[in-house]
């Protein structure tokens, strides 16, 4: 328990140091924090719930577009638009999960994959063009720090993301330790046993999906603020696959895994991109397969076993 407290304090302290970095590094760190929230969302579903989603890029996109439309087309302030985006995603996720999660994970994988592939096309469609800006997307303005705080817009958005992330991580941590989390994990491990213990499996699965979409939607909204732009091609199926890679690499069913995964999907593709256009996705694919063989519990699981090994060893 003490190591965990030290760990959390260290992460927050290191993150705060980011404020003093150059604006480019600050931007990268902001994205890491945002991805961490999105990955945490997917991990609630995939790691804890055992349900796979190949369409979380769409929820990330719905969150981003909801914020962009609210802020750009109406006069809703961004701090209201962020939870609104999350809430909308939560509802959409719950409704989408309702039919899909009653069945095996396979059907959910197919349905969410379809969602991920179709989503950019829907954004571009003529019917929604007035709202979404079609292929052009929507450009957003930088947000200013309130109360004349001595922070640049880049530093302020970083603070907003960090504060949101701390809050959402704390909620997820507590939720997964409580009876809700135990119910979710019980359904993953043995649905029949869980339902015979009185757990409403279909309801919990849909709720998990909604919760997961909520987290990812909030991340999408923050992402739109940080990038100051939303466009249909930013939310192609590749985003969904990145998230899955991040969750698997970071560690399934691990809260801290989301951070390692976010670091991975932020920095590794950039490195690989300098080799070849195909390299980022090639790295993703190879890492995905190898993680399952060599590191099934991800970076978080491997670190944990290194730390705890001396105590458990003979």
């Amino acid at each position: 328990m003490r190591t965990r407290a030290v760990g959390v304090a260290a992460v927050v302290a290191v993150s705060a140091l980011g404020l003093f970095g150059s604006s480019y590094h600050l931007f990268q760190l902001t994205l890491v924090v945002i991805y961490a929230i999105a990955l945490l969302g997917l991990n609630l579903l995939t790691g804890y719930g055992g349900q796979i989603s190949l369409g979380h890029g769409a929820f990330y996109g719905i969150g981003a577009y909801t914020l962009a439309v609210l802020v750009h087309r109406t006069s809703v302030p961004y701090w209201l638009a962020i939870p609104a985006a999350g809430a909308l995603c939560g509802v959409v996720g719950f409704l989408f999960g309702l039919p899909a999660v009653r069945l095996g994970g396979l059907h959910l994988a197919l349905a969410t994959f379809a969602l991920g592939v179709v989503f950019p096309q829907v954004l571009k469609s003529r019917g929604l063009e007035a709202l979404t800006g079609g292929v052009q997307g929507i450009a957003l303005e930088k947000i200013e720090a309130p109360l004349h705080l001595p922070l640049s817009p880049d530093q302020w958005i970083y603070c907003v993301c960090l504060a949101t992330a701390v809050a959402l991580f704390a909620v997820a941590h507590n939720l997964m330790r409580g009876h809700t989390g135990r119910a979710i994990v019980a359904i993953r491990d043995n649905a029949v046993a869980a339902s015979s213990m009185g757990v409403d499996t279909a309801m919990y699965k849909s709720l998990t999906f909604g919760l997961s979409a909520f987290y990812t939607g909030v991340a999408g909204a923050l992402g739109a603020l940080a990038v100051q732009f939303v466009g249909p091609d930013s939310f192609a199926v590749f985003v969904s696959i990145s998230f899955l890679v991040g969750v698997v690499v970071g560690g399934l069913a691990s809260i801290s895994g989301a951070i390692y995964g976010a670091l991975f999907i932020q920095f590794v593709p950039d490195l690989a991109d300098s080799v070849s256009k195909a390299a980022p996705s090639a790295v993703y694919g190879v890492v995905l397969v190898l993680s399952i063989y060599l590191m099934p519990r991800g970076v978080a699981g491997s670190l944990r076993s290194i730390v705890t090994q001396p105590k458990e060893g003979p």
């Binding site: 039919p99 396979l106 349905a111 379809a114 469609s125 399934l252 694919g285 190879v286 995905l288 397969v289």
Partner: protein
């Protein structure tokens, strides 16, 4: 009316391709109980191989046969190297391996063959066959090739002892092993066959949609929809589903949602099947012993 019939027949040609891919999915599903997300990308690699052979001056049908044979080998190799070691892992891990394989194959195709869009030749004459007005000869050819392939597969599975052994393994691997069937070889054979079927589908669709690394994305989505619609464990259902989805796609695209939203038909169909008939038209409803 003429335009309508044109859409229907065009849909049948695309549907033949979806039917082939859906059938390949069902073949893998029956032996592994997983959907092969990498099916489309295997077919993509095959199509690139065919394209390279044809560009090197190999006659079309020679390249066709060589590609089918090479794809068979590729399917066997993938099963042996990537899939078999993973089959003991939890289901979630296996799905992730399939996704990883899909991403690897796609990026390898882009890396080796480039991201430029290529045209792919059709082996069929450019004038309409038999003087009909509704169907371009490539479309007619696609339907013909698919039907011949389906007939061959039917004969193989129904009337040969190897086909019987394969069906036995899909049905009950343990008992099959007890009666002396080499289960591992049959699994490899199943993967090889489905990769070969996918290769034919890829070579048939490439002249219509053009060849680039994202070619199979939309095609696979329709094939998934077709397989789910027909019933993921039913070969006949997959074929019927493929043709249905092909026609539905064209009609919805032309008359209802517009071509830009054609792909949403696939999503709507997948969700619709999940809500109203999860086992598909001809699938066995899943029953598990508790």
């Amino acid at each position: 009316m003429e335009a309508f019939l044109h859409q229907v027949f065009g849909g049948l040609a695309n549907g033949a391709v979806y039917a082939s891919l859906a059938l390949a999915l069902v073949m893998i599903y029956r032996v592994t109980h997983f959907v092969n997300f990498a099916q489309g990308e295997l077919a993509l690699v095959s199509t690139y191989v065919a394209s390279s052979l044809i560009n090197a001056g190999v006659p079309y049908w020679v390249a066709f046969v060589a590609t089918v044979a090479l794809s068979f080998g590729m399917g066997v190799l993938v099963e042996r190297v990537v899939i078999r070691p993973a089959m003991r892992a939890p289901p979630l891990s296996i799905v992730i391996v399939f996704i990883g394989l899909m991403v690897v194959l796609n990026s390898m195709a882009g890396w080796i063959f480039g991201y430029d869009t290529r045209s792919f030749p059709s082996p069929f004459p450019s004038e309409p066959l038999f003087g009909n007005h509704y169907l371009a000869s490539h479309e007619l050819g696609v339907i013909g090739v698919t039907l011949v392939m389906l007939a061959l597969l039917y004969v193989f599975f129904r009337f040969t002892s190897l086909g019987l052994a394969l069906r036995a393994v899909a049905d009950n691997p343990e008992s099959s092993r007890l009666v002396g069937i080499r289960v591992e070889r049959m699994l490899a054979l199943g993967w090889g066959l489905s990769a070969a079927v996918g290769a034919v589908a890829g070579m048939m669709i490439a002249p219509i949609v053009f060849l680039d690394p994202s070619m199979m994305g939309a095609v696979m989505l329709y094939a998934f929809a077709a397989a789910l619609f027909g019933g993921i464990d039913s070969p006949g259902g997959a074929v019927l589903g493929g043709f249905t989805v092909g026609v539905l796609e064209n009609l919805m695209g032309t008359y209802v949602v517009g071509t830009e939203l054609k792909l949403t038909t696939a999503l709507a169909l997948i969700v619709g099947v999940l809500v109203f008939r999860p086992a598909g038209l001809f699938g066995q409803p899943a029953a598990a012993r508790v």
